[in-house]
Amino acid sequence: MSVSEALLRGSLAALIGFTFVGISLVILNWFERKMGGRIQSRYGPMHVGFHGILQTFADLLKLLQKEYIIPQGANKLLFIAAPFMVMVPAIFVFLVIPFGPDLYAFRFEYSLLFILSFPALTSFGILAAGWASNSKYSLVASLRTVGQMISYEIPRLLSALSIALMAGSFAIDTIVERQAYLWFVLLQPIAFLVFFFSSLAEANRMPFDFTWAESELVSGFFTEYTGMRWALFFLGEYGALVAACLVTALIFFGGWYGPILPSPIWLIVKAALLLVFSLWIRWTWPRLRIDQWMRFSWKVLTPLSIANLLLTAFLMHWLGVGA
């Protein structure tokens, strides 16, 4: 690999990530509304295009016309930078995600660790957005983000460690190759649940959407944002969700393995099913309270994932199925 190739691959990854998230936002946003409509015994969007299929574009047009307001007393630099700080880390995973056996921007030996650590930078963006807005609702929301992050990170990391233990590697493509015959979700159901729900928490999705809990914090950390700046947060949220589902599909559901269809399609199908699952949760469950979630995370999830990790280690040693 040369420097120019690295430059090309890096920028292509960003471009593809952006496009991928953008396209999936258009589809997913429409699908989410339609599915929500179906679950709630209503139609959902119907008027813009066939069955409202162009609704997202109509919303985009609306957002393009919105005014750009910086609230009084806001920290301008951080206020303007915060949407980027949320958006860009949310799609970091596209740097290392393999869509097929040889289909990746970069092959990194510790890509699982990369995925676990770098997207967590979104928390700083949210913290910055809330603090810079000079609005109390935003401030409360942004400080909740910290509380949320410190409660899901550890269980998430520990459950990912037990996967790495089974695969004997932190490289995602190796982990996927180990699942050619048996998905890890069958061997590690606890790790899957912990990982998936922690990922939902990272993406601020229901039932963990404390940072923009509408009923108490109005719009949370993006209360003061308008127009495309707001849209970037929205894009970042969907990006984090899509990334979380892609990663879960890769490390638990055998990634690109599947009959007949080409490998990227399989990965996307699996991720899409996980997305549908997350939407289903969103439309069914009430929201937790942040202190309850933190307590649950520290009193149940953390010990559980530690136990799971040790159990995995012992079983692997005794059964001699180490890598």
Binding site: M1, V3, E5, A6, L7, R9, G10, S11, A13, A14, L15, G17, F18, L63, L64, K66, E67, Y68, I69, P71, Q72, G73, A74, F84, M87, V88, F92, L95, A105, F106, F108, S133, K136, Y137, L139, V146, G147, I150, S151, I154, L158, L161, A164, L165, F170, G227, M228, A231, L232, I290, M294, R295, T302, I306, L309, L310, A313, H317, G322, A323
Partner: protein
Amino acid sequence: MDGIYFLIGILVFILTGTILAAALVAIGKATSYTRNEPEKTIPYECGELPVVKTKNSKFSANYYSYALAFLIFDVEAALLIPWVMSFKEQSLTGILAATAFLAILVFGLLYAFLSGGLNWE
């Protein structure tokens, strides 16, 4: 040397991503018209003037005991990574050592739990 290339990749990724995002904002700014009025820029506080200015109010992050536990466990997780990496070369002793290490930490968590440190008050 792959690491260097990956680092370059990350930097280029950040740059490209920011440019793309900035392009979105720029398009939005170009297609919209902002009329600045003083009332519009008052921070949202449910339609009333803020009771106390935000910069003058202190918000107590009273989950700091969780944050302390987080620091410890984050270091713990970082220490577990090499253990996971070298798992195939290890004998039972290695696993037992990790178990003892984790057990101490879980006891610490249990202590924090029993002493009421893991309550949000």
